[in-house]
Symmetry: C2
Subunit: 239 residues, 2 copies
């Protein structure tokens, strides 16, 4: 996670007029992420947004909903009407030109997302400048078959809605959120050259389980390895 | 690949006084990578360095040797004596502070590499400010058990050697290269706070095979999807 946040945060420092909301799935803001945010030097807000206990006990609960709901609440209270909300994931790879594509979003902007993993691409189908459907979406049966990295929303537009929210239903987070905005297909703003260019990729790689390093008590007592292992524990790289 | 090169190249634009050698494993420089390099705006040299046919027929041939040998040749001919060579991989995640750590390398600098995948970390063992061995290296039996992302070399130091080269032996590329520099452990410059900090990660994820998208001839004839698929083929995202 620290590798991905470092890489992502460094990319965000290249974007003008950005505010990074980092909503952690933990009961308190972790010092490691706080120090990374301070070091990067871009405007940020750091939120501790743990998933409620009631959901942790269930099997197919989507990760990230609690965090995105908190970000949504923050945006409703603190965001400028001409601001734009984009939900980043730590496993996104972004061409910085995407931020210019989304910058003037009034309602909801959409664009293709390269999916690295089982799928190849998720994209709106555009005809005569308007979205008429979705290509290669999963799961089917959704009105808005889009990836979380495939859209941005105008903050003013969010504020105008009665109950903007995201459901705790795996696979239906994007669809449920966009439905809560009372969005229709014809409201969607088409970006990335008529949805023909890929400027963001979503790697769907499974996370490796966090490993432990246990040093034998008689080993590495006079070198750097114990200090290195301590730093890696601090960064959450190992248990 | 285009996702990773975009992400990596954007990071490199943040580094002062850098020259990016991009050595492709292909018979000619691909226009997609050329246009990415031009767009990023950092100083670069783009080389076409295909693996020789004789190696392609073998089973356990290391990828990347032909490219790194070409880069080495370029550095010997064109590099400044006070320059520093660092072998990047497209699956590295780098904290930009690493470039400041390596910037003053005279012989060979080393630091820990976080390994995302089967391993956790590869690091020199440092005692009293000197490298005395290596932690968690693979394969064993090497003099220098380091990851390709774990060291940098002074260009002037390379030029002083008779036959700096990299062997075509999987798992022994780093070791063979450092041996060809006549390096001894006591020559190594210790970086990253005595090799206790992780500023670079190497994800050892297997590449997914490139997929094909075949659109039925009667589908998507009046929308954006054919243009999107063409662009993705152009970028090498699909076959």
């Amino acid at each position: 996670m620290v590798a991905e946040l470092t890489r992502l945060g460094q990319t965000l420092t290249m974007v003008k007029r950005i505010h990074w909301l980092v909503a952690e799935d933990s009961p308190a803001c972790s010092p490691v992420i706080a120090s990374l945010l301070h070091r990067l030097g871009l405007p940020f807000t750091h939120l501790a947004t743990p998933m409620p206990e009631v959901y942790r006990r269930e099997r197919y609960v989507p990760r990230g909903v609690s965090n995105r709901r908190a970000a949504l609440q923050w945006v409703k209270e603190e965001g400028h009407d001409h601001g734009v909300l984009f939900f980043l994931d730590d496993d996104n790879a972004i061409d910085v030109r995407l931020f210019e594509e989304m910058r003037h979003t009034k309602t909801v902007s959409m664009w293709p997302v390269g999916l690295i993993g089982d799928y190849t691409v998720s994209s709106p189908i555009v005809r005569d400048g308007k979205v008429v459907g979705f290509y290669d979406g999963w799961p089917a049966g959704r009105k808005f078959q889009v990836d979380m990295a495939g859209f941005s929303v105008g903050v003013g537009y969010i504020k105008k809605q009665k109950r903007p929210t995201m459901p705790y239903i795996a696979g239906y987070e994007e669809d449920g959120f966009l439905k809560s905005l009372n969005l229709t297909l014809k409201d969607i703003e088409v970006r990335a050259n008529g949805c023909t260019e890929v400027l963001v990729w979503h790697t769907r790689t499974a996370k490796n389980p966090t490993r432990a390093i246990r040093l034998p008590p008689d080993k590495h007592t006079h070198d750097n390895i114990r200090g290195l292992v301590e730093n890696m524990k601090h960064l959450g790289m190992i248990k």
